[in-house]
């Protein structure tokens, strides 16, 4: 029973991982550029939610879309101001561009909000459910279900709408898309916006049940890399399955080996996958 | 035979990009690989160069089985290539680019530089020796790729659309260069879209269509082969026979 409890809470956390990793995989598949600041975007969204609640007294119904909007703008600005330019440059510039951004965001948060952990009140969304002996906090349930729904929604938008097929066309072949009258620059800016907005929602959701600190983004970035590598680069369904899987693996290893080693297991798995199947478990060769 | 490819198949899932192709290359000849877009000639070419490993079939170079050998082993054995989209080393000068090739057979800098200087003079790049590779235009880059390949002192040179995207005047210069390379005793396999090039350069043409070799022989005869005419679009062939650059 305890094991089942662990698996369920792993799945709920994994759904949130899947959500922000979908954003990373979208950006990645689109232009083959990694956002090293992805986890730090999530961190910003967590603080956005925190301050929206403590300073403006806004509840989840407001701060979740609010964080998404703020991060959407940030994503577009980062694309237009930085990524668009470094993407054409040497590999060193591509890596240092977003990596430097990660440092700026992380330590600016450190400076502005101090290293102290903060958190939203536990009872923001009412209490704990008891489902057949399983105890699930309402905030985690809401977070998991909402994250799952939005990830699936993202997948549907990408595969079923005109806009989605335009985005995918640019990811597939930039020049061919241009010939069809699609403006790749706009689509890529949009992908960065949507990718960042996914961290906005994910961050606001995590903030409801997780502590908030300036350096939390570092391990979240690594988790996003792991999920994207496992799920195959550019694949939202892949990210969904891999995100849920990583959530469960993390929860199980924390329970079975100890919380200190949960990251060790995830990182080791990541390296193993990169070494054995560089194209990802679900990607094609 | 310098190079023998037998029954080469390259499958991507159910799709066979190359479907049982054979090729013999005798020492000293210039062979042209032609065929419409997507005919599989580039994939086949990459198998020959060791850049891709065929699903089935064998490739022998100078009597040795090189089917699964790495690209660097191909270079050591005496096979050099150019790329469809030139990949020059942007941070280096033209001479340094060529020296990378020369280092394959000469461990010392001075010796490598001597070989590079000779190749640069031979390819007409000596005036540009000290300019950065990134400042070259497409014709310069294509020429530099050929120079770099020659510096590895190959017996067989594989040229992947080395003349595509050049102006007619540049094409004539490049054709002259290829002739001079042949005069050095180097065998050449050339993949080309421009029929004019094949007609004026190649001693033998091999036509690919849907992954298979559908015709081989003297270029003039091959161009008139009915199977080849149907493979290409009719109006395209007319343009080609008038000597246009397709």
């Amino acid at each position: 029973m305890i094991l089942l409890q662990v698996v369920v809470s792993g799945l709920l956390m994994g759904a949130v991982y899947a959500l922000f990793s979908s954003g990373l995989t979208l950006i990645w598949g689109m232009m083959n550029v990694v956002n090293f600041a992805h986890g730090d975007f999530v961190m910003l969204a967590m603080y956005a939610a925190f301050f929206a609640f403590t300073l403006l007294h806004l509840g989840p119904a407001f701060f979740i879309p609010g964080a998404a909007a703020v991060l959407f703008v940030l994503g577009v600005v980062v694309y237009l101001g930085l990524v668009r330019h470094v993407a054409r440059g040497p590999m060193l510039a591509q890596i240092l561009g977003t990596f430097g951004l990660a440092l700026v965001l992380r330590y600016a948060a450190f400076w502005a909000f101090t290293a102290n952990f903060v958190s939203l009140p536990d009872n923001l969304v009412g209490g704990t459910f008891d489902i057949g002996g399983l105890r699930i906090e309402a905030s985690r349930l809401l977070g998991g279900v909402l994250a799952l729904a939005i990830t699936l929604g993202m997948h549907l938008v990408l595969t079923r709408t005109m806009l989605g097929s335009r985005i995918l066309a640019v990811a597939e072949d930039r020049n061919a898309a241009m010939l069809m009258g699609i403006r790749p620059d706009r689509m890529q800016a949009l992908a960065w916006g949507v990718g960042a907005a996914s961290t906005g929602v994910a961050g606001a959701l995590i903030a409801m049940f997780f502590y908030i600190s300036p350096t939390v983004g570092e391990s979240l970035s690594l988790i996003a890399f792991v999920v994207v590598c496992l799920g195959g680069f550019g694949s939202v369904p892949g990210a969904l399955v891999a995100g849920l899987g990583i959530g469960v693996i993390e929860a199980l290893s924390a329970y079975l080996i100890g919380a200190v080693y949960q990251d060790v297991v995830v990182y080791a798995l990541f390296l193993l996958v990169l070494w054995v199947r560089p194209q990802g478990l679900m990607g094609t060769a | 035979m310098l190079l023998e490819a037998r029954g080469i198949i390259m499958a991507f899932g159910a799709f066979r990009a190359v479907d049982g192709a054979d090729l013999d290359v005798a020492e000293g000849e210039i062979i042209g690989l032609i065929g419409p877009n997507g005919a599989g000639k580039s994939t086949f070419f990459n198998c020959l160069a060791g850049d891709a490993q065929p699903t089935a079939g064998t490739i022998r170079f100078r009597g040795q089985d090189v089917t699964r050998a790495t690209p660097e082993a191909h270079a050591r054995l005496g096979m050099a290539r150019s790329f469809q989209v030139p990949v020059t080393f942007e941070d280096m000068t033209v001479a340094q680019n060529v020296m990378v090739g020369a280092f394959l057979r000469h461990g010392h800098r001075a010796a490598a530089r001597r070989v590079a200087d000779e190749v640069l003079a031979f390819t007409g790049l000596d005036q540009l020796a000290d300019t950065p590779a990134r400042s070259l235009g497409t014709p310069g880059r294509k020429r530099l790729e050929i120079a770099r390949a020659l510096a590895t002192e190959p017996q067989l040179l594989l040229l992947d659309e080395a003349l595509a995207g050049l102006t007619p005047a540049e094409v004539r210069l490049a054709i002259a260069l290829v002739r001079r390379i042949k005069a050095r005793g180097i065998t050449i396999v050339i993949v080309e879209h421009i029929m004019e090039v094949i007609l004026s350069l190649a001693e033998r043409a091999v036509v690919f269509h849907q992954g298979k070799v559908i015709a081989a022989g003297a270029p003039r005869a091959v161009v008139d082969d009915p199977a080849v005419v149907t493979a290409y679009l009719g109006h395209h062939m007319k343009r080609v026979r008038r000597g246009g650059v397709g």
Binding site: V33, V34, V86, G89, P90, L92, A93, I95, L96, G97, F99, G100, A102, L103, V104, L105, R106, Y107, F110, W111, E218, S219, L222, F225, C229, V260, Y261, D263, V264, Y267, A268, F270, L271, L274, P278 | A49, D51, T70, P71, E72, A75, A80, F83, V87, T88, F89, E90, D91, M92, Q96, M99, V100, G101, F103, L104, G107, R109, R148, A151, T152
Partner: protein
């Protein structure tokens, strides 16, 4: 090279630095600049020359630092005696980490190095023999001169300078040899390099082994001077980041780039630390981050590249 007189002048100035001032802060600054230049120059071998952007070099730095202090705490050896051991351990780690990761391209390589370094940090932080989260201390009082424990920073300055000169001399030789050309070709593109007969994986490994060995030596030198390490100060991601920034600012893949970068960045870091006190670390890294964003955006070649374009422009004007 027409710039030899300038280079010679630079090294004379660096050698004279501790004699020009009595201020311990400034003397210490000189030693720290040289130490940062050593580790960034070591990173430069793989990250700059071969173009494989490792963000996990803290692993090798930590190998040297921990080897030196473990041999002291367990066997009572003087910390510097751990340096060769650390270099061997670092090279072994490099072979283990490098062989599989070199098949990865660009970003994937960088991500793999970050993950490997984080893995190492967490494992060490929970490893009793290595002092776990608390860390390890060197000899509290020097037992003999071999402990290389001095109050004045000046002896360290000359020790570090000697190591830097050896490393740069080796790098210069390497740059002019076949290996230098091959690494530049690898940076230019694996596929083209291989078509010219460059054994790409082997040369990447050579570069990483050399790089790891000297990074480890830098780690040993660091503990010899500072006398204390913990998982964050020897294995934290910021250790890796600093090597990358110093090299990239000065000019990655150039001989003197990392030294130039260290001369600019280390005084900046020490000054912000002195001005802002405890909260200085945060500010330092905001500045670091901003600097690499600006380099990436406007001048990926770093200061060395800027210098080159200025001299070219001046030469043109003179002509």
């Amino acid at each position: 090279m027409k710039q030899w007189p300038l280079v010679l002048l630079g090294f004379v100035a660096i050698a004279a630095w501790p004699l020009l001032t009595d201020d311990v802060f400034l003397q210490r600054l000189g030693a720290l600049v040289l130490l940062a230049a050593i580790s960034a120059s070591a990173w430069n071998l793989i990250g700059g020359y071969a173009g494989q952007v490792s963000i996990g070099h803290s692993v090798y730095f930590g190998a040297g630092a921990y080897a030196s202090l473990v041999l002291y705490t367990q066997l009572g050896w003087p910390p510097i005696a751990g340096a060769p051991v650390g270099m061997l351990v670092a090279m072994a780690l490099a072979a283990v980490v490098g062989t599989p990761t070199f098949r990865l391209r660009g970003h994937y390589f960088s991500m793999a190095t970050i993950a490997a370094a984080e893995l190492a940090r967490i494992l060490v932080a929970n490893w009793k023999l290595l002092g776990a989260a608390v860390g390890l201390m060197g000899p509290p009082v020097p037992r003999s001169v071999v402990d290389l424990s001095f109050i004045s920073p000046v002896p360290y300055h000359y020790l570090f300078l000697a190591v830097l000169v050896v490393l740069l001399g080796l790098t210069w030789q390497m740059q002019r040899s076949r290996m230098g050309y091959y690494l530049a070709a690898i940076r230019g593109g694996d596929r083209a390099a291989r078509s010219l007969g460059v054994p790409v994986l082997r040369y990447k490994l050579y570069a990483l082994l050399l790089s790891a060995a000297f990074t480890s030596l830098a780690g040993s030198l660091y503990v010899v001077m500072v006398g204390f390490i913990d998982p964050d100060s020897a294995l934290g991601i910021l250790i890796s980041v600093k090597m990358v920034i110093v090299a990239a600012l000065g000019g990655s893949g150039t001989l003197f780039g990392p030294l130039i970068g260290a001369i600019i960045l280390v005084p900046l870091e020490e000054t912000t630390n002195a001005v802002f006190g405890g909260s200085g670390t945060g500010v330092t890294y905001i500045v670091y981050g901003a600097i690499i964003v600006l380099i990436a955006r406007f001048r990926p070649g770093g200061v060395a590249d800027l210098w080159r374009s200025i001299t070219v422009r001046m030469a043109r004007r003179a002509a």
